[in-house]
Symmetry: D2
């Protein structure tokens, strides 16, 4: 595993490293950690990476690693840079034979996303997009319950992703995480929409197994001088006729990382809250509310497989993130052994394209005063 981005001040780089190595299936062997060669070296040193594998930039890394003997070189690249620095390294890595793990949203533009999809397809290499919430055991249980028909045909969905960290103008105080997220040259056309709205979109489709057919989006820019959305409310219609709402925000004062989803079917309903991830609340036509827990009673195998420790011992954000890496690792191991694997369970390049379409469709809808925009078969001409 080589890393692009994720220097020592990066939040998400550290998350990727911990997640990737938690289950002992992967090892960080090289990196181009920062935009300057010096800081990249510095980070690498702290990470105990040999100096000769701390590269000055991703191009150098990809080329140099390619020259190493097959059993020494990195097997894949993890890309944990801001959005505008996803496409080029991903494409180059793939073209040079390296599998890729990439942070979300997948690219800066939809065009890049489509181009990347073609590269993945043409190279036949693996590509994982790190939507981490599907890695949570209770999300796996929710998906399995839907798939097995436990709650019947889905009628209604409510999803929200609420944060408050951009409620004031922190981007003007030198906060780096904030600064690039409010900058369209680095974030793309979506602000909170791309940063967290895509997680909301992804989890809806992951659990329900349904695509959002169309949406009507009303985006907000509440922070002073913001050019990108920092809040949004969206009406949803799913491909099976279900309806719903999505609400996301980074100006919801005091909210920390409040991703929550409720799914109502004809026979039962499901509720999951990311901040208290170790329970799945289920409601029924004719039974009391039942609460499932990781490694607890009556789980589906998919949920059991996603827990590491006994019931009642909470697993959190890192463990869910690590499940994405673990499932990618299993696929990678199989691939390296020339074996195949059925239905690998991690987000892929097509989820990435889907997320970019969601961003574009939402922005288009917002520009049209929240008119409905087709998402399932999203058409756009460089909007």
């Amino acid at each position: 595993m080589g890393m692009i981005g994720g220097g020592i001040e990066s939040f998400i780089g550290d998350v990727h490293r911990k997640a990737a190595t938690l289950d002992g299936m992967m090892e960080l062997v090289c990196g181009a950690f920062s935009s300057t060669a010096e800081r990249s070296k510095e980070s690498g040193k702290l990470l105990l990476i040999p100096e000769d594998r701390c590269y000055n930039n991703f191009e150098e890394m990809i080329l140099a690693e390619k020259e190493l003997p097959e059993n020494e070189r990195m097997d894949f690249v993890a890309i944990v840079t801001p959005n505008h620095l996803h496409f080029a390294p991903a494409k180059m890595a793939l073209k040079n034979g390296f599998h890729v793990v990439c942070d979300k949203p997948m690219t800066l533009t939809l065009d890049e996303a489509k181009a990347l999809e073609q590269v993945v397809e043409s190279t036949g290499l693996l590509f994982a997009l790190t939507h981490n919430y599907p890695g949570s055991p209770m999300v796996k249980q929710a998906k399995a319950m839907v798939k097995n028909g436990d709650i019947g045909k889905i009628r209604k969905v409510q999803v929200q992703y609420l944060q408050g960290w951009l409620a004031t103008s922190v981007e003007k105080t030198g906060q780096k995480q904030a600064a690039w997220r409010v900058d369209p040259t680095k974030s793309g056309i979506g602000g909170a929409l791309g940063d967290i709205g895509t997680h909301a979109e992804n989890i809806v489709e992951y659990i329900t197994g349904l695509q959002i057919k169309e949406l009507a989006a009303d985006l907000g820019k509440f922070g002073e001088d913001r050019v990108l959305d920092d809040d949004g409310n969206i009406l949803l219609r799913l491909e099976n006729g279900a309806k719903g709402t999505m609400s996301f925000s980074q100006i919801a004062v005091g909210e920390e990382n409040n991703l929550a989803i409720r799914i109502y079917g004809e026979k039962g309903s499901l509720e999951w809250n990311q901040e208290n991830p170790n329970q799945l609340i289920t409601r029924w036509l004719d039974k009391p509310k039942m609460i499932y827990t990781p490694n607890g009673n009556n789980l589906y195998p998919e949920a059991m497989a996603a827990s590491r420790i006994p019931a009642g011992h909470p697993e959190g954000y890192l463990e869910a993130f690590a499940n994405v890496y673990k499932n990618f690792a299993k696929h990678l191991y199989a691939k390296l052994s020339k074996k195949d694997i059925k239905a690998p369970d991690y987000p892929t390049v097509s989820d990435g394209v889907r997320g970019m379409k969601f961003i574009y469709a939402s922005v288009e809808s917002d520009k049209k005063n929240a008119a409905w925009v087709e998402l399932k078969e999203y058409k756009y001409e460089n909007n």
Copy 2:
């Protein structure tokens, strides 16, 4: 107090009676409790009403009570019939000099609502609409916190009202509560929209002190053969620029009476859930989450006045409902003593008109595929 409707099988009639009498300020003295004279008498007997004041119908009651000496006759009428039977008795009672308490939504049509508003204004009599949730102590606290600027300018609102009791076709099983609610001749043009959506609309405007400027509504009819909505998702824009979502449903399997509201300001945010009404969750830019409780620490006087018993002794739905009656009773007492009262705190006829406009605007929006419809200055020509 005389009652129209609310026979022995009625849920809401019993609620009104308990709420009205809880604080010992009112007494039920007569009624026209049912659509048939016989059942009305039967109900009256069980309620220990003298037989001669159990009337065959509301017309008879109003006329007969008017003939009684002033200190014997009822002071006001409580109307607890289905929606289509609100307007006529309310109008007649007012025209004959009786104050009115009326269940929500106020009337069958918006025209009726406007007409009733004129009658109230021209008679100068009191009119209370029983939106009960504003009676909850923690809703009072929320409103006071907004009013005092504690959370700053409001930016975002999320409100939901979720029930599951119409998830199956219970109206076909002889369930009377369900039967009239799905029948447009009795409910009006809104189904869940009128029954619970209006509560959601009311609580948003009550707490924030802001009007909804415009809305975009996507209504659903999921129950078999339903002609009225049983589910809805609405985008909201408030008059001050805040945005939000509303979601309501009566097909959300397993939900009981899940009314919840979240309000985000520039400095703080508020969250209240009706099913656990004795806490107000508040979040802040730079303080931990703080949870207020009835009769607990640091409350505003408005919240203190709405609690009857010490902190930690839960009050519920009936007590909140009774607060609406108590505030109406205080106003009535003042009126009867020829005194005046400043800013009586209960929903009035203008809230009722507002609620009807909300229903009409939502249905209009839905017909136009969730196009924005102005609510603040709602115009309609018999739509």
Copy 3:
């Protein structure tokens, strides 16, 4: 219904009045509300009691009411005075033919309790002790689940009743509720023990259907100059071999009215919290956690009978209290109609004796440094 005590400043008097009349089965017709004749009249006036039935003291009331025609006089007396003023009026009322409802703990001393038990038995009149928590729908459900064997043989019990209102010396500030509770001439030998510990004892025995066999009590006096306990921790052994703990406190800063009980059987377990009374949490060997709600799915008839309004509409402290009165009223109606009733479901004089024994046994144990004291067959010689 006549009331002894419960003047306008009394908390519990108002609770009794609201609880007694909530279901329209009882009416307050007379009272001796205060220790002075003048304040009694004043309270009576506010309560709309005719002046001639506002008595100067309980003796006068009992004698005068007895002289009234049978269909005019009060049917029973509700005694809501501090503990030292329970015995005399209760005894006199019974001896003069009036049924009695009495607040808890039943008497000032165990001798009084035993004497009162004999009076009740010899007169054959009804006597209700207002332990209100057994009136809660979910407590009824818990008791029914135990009785029907759902959770198997009980092994472990945890009960707590935590308040913080005596954490500082409020009794020195003129707070009347506090003043008499810390005064042994008015409270008896138990402080928090009598005031709230008896509720904890009562609910354990009510739900489990088991008696506490023996106990080991360590009482605390943390408030300055307190002579009665304001905190206690007790080891419990039930008659069937189950073990457990009880903890109560009135110095637990910030706690409001935190009564909670957990019961563990061989097959399942139950948890109920008074501050969130509308759920019963159940845990199982091989099923997920299941949460029951009033009027919700799968309840026993005993729980259904204790709810007034649909699921999701919270009922609270007053409604539970009213259930005690309602069940007493049903028994009283039957008695007045010379009918009988099977297993009336409200606490009686024997529960009152039991509570007094609990107080005495706990104080005895505490004096012996938390040595075990037999409670089931409690022996004492004027300790």
Copy 4:
């Protein structure tokens, strides 16, 4: 880092490995993972340990590693075997110059514990005992709040640790985790007492900074044929005059890992629940309930230092466990650099001795029918 025990079927071995390596400060380099050489090799292989450093037993490992060059050999040993296999390897490792991390309870007997304490003192090497719960950020916050006087003098403590996994006779079904825990030759004289009671004892003393002065313990053996306790209820008296209760159980049906603690001071109170570890509930004399979260507002530095990721991204059991390792690692790094560190924050050998005294005092008290036994200055003569 070398590991003793923790073969592939071990729960706790895997936890130690993940916890030790999460922050990239340690690496597993060798091990004697199982009681048979063959299975040890097998485990080592899966863990990617070079075959020559997969040892047949701990004696071989310690001697062989000692022969390696200083910069190649393991720096410390992690002992994750059942209780009876702690003392010998810990002693041997220390005597041969290796620092030790050891699972709890520290030893099989109190004699061993005292002996081990002497070895640690005489060698001057580091010894960490893996009580993991003090590693939780909100436990750090609680400790800091007590230390800084925020809640005033402590008056009352309630601690519980409830599990249900031994509610039935799982030890007879071949469940290995259960089998050794109910066997006194492997567990020592405490069952649930040693396994989880010691965690409860440790967290009380860690947060309060106070020692338990004396205790009165009533232990239960509910499982069929059990010779060790599987349940216990204990009265506590702390050295400062505070009182409290402890309750633990492994037969509490449906409980998963319900460790919870409440601490009441003169000015405020604290509540923490392990199953929902990312909140610290605080209550106050004159402020609303306030809820602290990891990396949230207004934390003490001790709590901030224990969080890895932004507020709202839950950390769990592993992350808390890793904090113990991280703090040990920091101390170890300092030691290896011949530097010193002030007040290293992880449980040490003296906590281990303390835990063993707690077990012995509790068993002694139980034998004496829950008589008080001094713990602070525990005396015993081979009881």
